[in-house]
Assembly symmetry: C2
């Protein structure tokens, strides 16, 4: 079941809005009637994707500076969207900082994070980072006077209800994703196969030629790299799912594939440049060590052996924005987009531009001050 | 509301069983019609309490040796109950090791832990330890092949139902206590005032003279010392609750008071004997440092200033069984009763014997091999 009634009506609302006013949006989102959601390119135009990484909305919500960060993060997204007018946006994890959100209003912050994209009628997809869901940890200081703060229960949060909504508890990936999907016809996110849970955001989207949905140009694979409520890994089961899915929909490896997840795999440590960034790597900042997943359980072996896979894109490290080749596969960081999270490096977003004939993937980083840098071609 | 329908009918079942066959049980449990549950002494007899500490049922449930531990722990309890025939039992926390219990069947292990007491018709009360409730932690090894084990969903666990019951999640103090209370008329445990949550097992029981419930002999205070899903502390709010409650029911300090919780307060570190156990301390094992609460937020100040408080009893440290005076207040460890949990020191249970006229509290430790040691008088 792809459509709930609400989702169906929202979809028509989207189509209506599209016909009415959003004539500047560049992609035709086909009805989501198959398991593989389909995005369609416009005739004669490249397909442009903006990656928004590590926004960390809702961080330090009770302070003066916390909500100010979110305002700044929205400004970055607005700037990038106005400058680049992408066809599609990928939220590359750590959309929110759930760790510090006191009540089950995480989805309200999530809504804020997607609002610049949504308000422009641009479709998007999201994957989870390690800060998006979290176990609830009781702060020690609540046990001395003045005690546990009174809960302020959000009325607007229709995903949750009653006592369950208004209690101190952690956020859950499934709830966050359900809220995004149920309330947004423009969202191409999916909960992924149930057998992969607690890992959730595992799915594939097809970008089709303007000729029609039977002419795939590229497959976009999204994987949940864990963290938060469970370990930071891509599991053997996820690797198996990728192998089966890619064999099924792209058996002859003719369609190029791009991969998106949040936490760099351990292979990133091997290719990481030392003392600055030198060719063949391309990027502007190399300010910290790679904070890789806790283990490598098979996915990298599959991806490096598969020539149709062109590049992997991750966030997580706010002080890294490079792309480096690992044999024929590019390993890329996005760019820290949000004012939330650690680090004061200038904010921006990695852009991908995909052409069909001949197939190519170009990338660059668009900064908040409109500067563009780190142009690189990620396809032969 | 004290009685649910089920509880009410169970209570009558208990009274019926008592009249029928359990004539060897020593205490008359009065109907629980007031906030302060009342236990009544038999004419001319002392009131004897057995403390069962750190049973850790359900530990390593998937191994060969885990369930074997629980069998051994039951044997210890059976031996103590047969030798001492106490009037009342106190489960002093860490009844289960919830950390490693995969599904919401923690209450089934809890049922096993109380079964030796219940089957003899002896009433009891319980407090929580740091291992009784727990956040769910996904083991790293589940993310490589062979993957996440299939859930085995317990049908017998009527506290939980449907998908919520059969999912990987932590245990909750409120659910554990609800299960104990709803299914056991002999349980004198309480959920405690709602304003003290997430701290749960905070309540007081009155032991009355054989003359009737208007002649209290001693008040037994139970406090939740935290741990597991929240920090290991007795909060300022709990201290305030104790102050109000004790001022209300014992304003002239005429009735002696005994205190029970799981994790030693920091005051235990100050009185801890060094190199063996010497007078005025009394005990047999002193094998480790005191693992105290994370902070001292007011309860000890109240207790030491209140001459009606005679002693505090804790578990938590399996390698300590001493009582030491802290001015006029005795600080006592129980004795590790369970085969679950760390340490191979011989198992036993601290016994308390309370007389009415004149008031006295004597204590000793009854071992699994029937030996009795560490006799001490805890009242002037």
């Amino acid at each position: 079941m792809i459509f709930s009634i609400a989702r169906f009506s929202l979809y028509f609302q989207f189509v209506f809005l599209t016909l009415q006013g959003f004539d500047d949006h560049r992609v035709l989102a086909l009805p989501k009637t198959s398991e593989n959601y389909s995005l369609q390119m416009r005739p004669g135009a490249p397909f442009k994707i903006a990656l928004f990484a590590d926004l960390h909305f809702g961080e330090a919500e009770t302070t003066d500076w916390g909500p100010g960060q979110d305002v700044n993060s929205k400004r970055v997204m607005n700037t990038v969207l106005d400058d680049e007018t992408p066809d599609f946006v990928i939220y590359l994890g750590d959309v929110i900082t759930a760790n510090n959100i006191l009540i089950a209003n995480a989805s309200l912050y999530w809504d804020q994070a997607i609002s610049p994209t949504k308000s422009r009628g641009i479709p998007w997809a999201s994957v989870f980072g390690n800060h998006d869901d979290a176990l609830f940890e009781w702060p020690m200081e609540w046990f001395s006077a003045p005690g546990i703060p009174r809960l302020i229960c959000p009325e607007a949060n229709s995903t949750h209800s009653g006592a369950e909504a208004c209690s101190f508890r952690g956020t859950h990936r499934l709830e966050l994703m359900k809220h995004e999907i149920d309330h947004n016809a423009l969202s191409f996110s999916k909960n992924g196969p149930k057998e992969l849970w607690p890992s959730v955001s595992n799915y594939v989207l097809q970008v089709s030629s303007s000729d029609g949905p039977k002419s795939p140009v590229v497959y976009l694979y999204f994987l949940d790299s864990g963290g938060g409520s469970y370990p930071e890994v891509i599991s053997t089961a996820q690797a198996d799912w990728f192998r089966h899915k890619s064999d099924q929909i792209n058996p002859d490896l003719r369609v190029p594939e791009l991969i998106f997840w949040h936490i760099p795999s351990r292979a990133y440590k091997k290719v990481a440049p030392r003392f600055g960034i030198h060719r063949p790597c391309v990027g502007l900042i190399n300010k910290e060590g790679v904070a890789a997943q806790k283990a490598e359980l098979g996915i990298m072996k599959l991806l490096t052996k598969r020539p149709s896979v062109k590049a992997i894109f991750v966030g997580h490290n706010h002080g890294l924005d490079w792309c480096c080749p690992n044999e024929k596969l590019w390993l890329c960081f996005a760019r820290h987009t949000g004012y939330g999270g650690y680090g004061d490096w200038a904010r921006g977003a990695r852009i991908l531009e995909i052409t069909q004939k001949p197939f190519s993937v170009k990338s660059w980083i668009r900064m908040e001050d409109n500067v563009v840098h780190s142009r690189v071609v990620l396809s032969p």
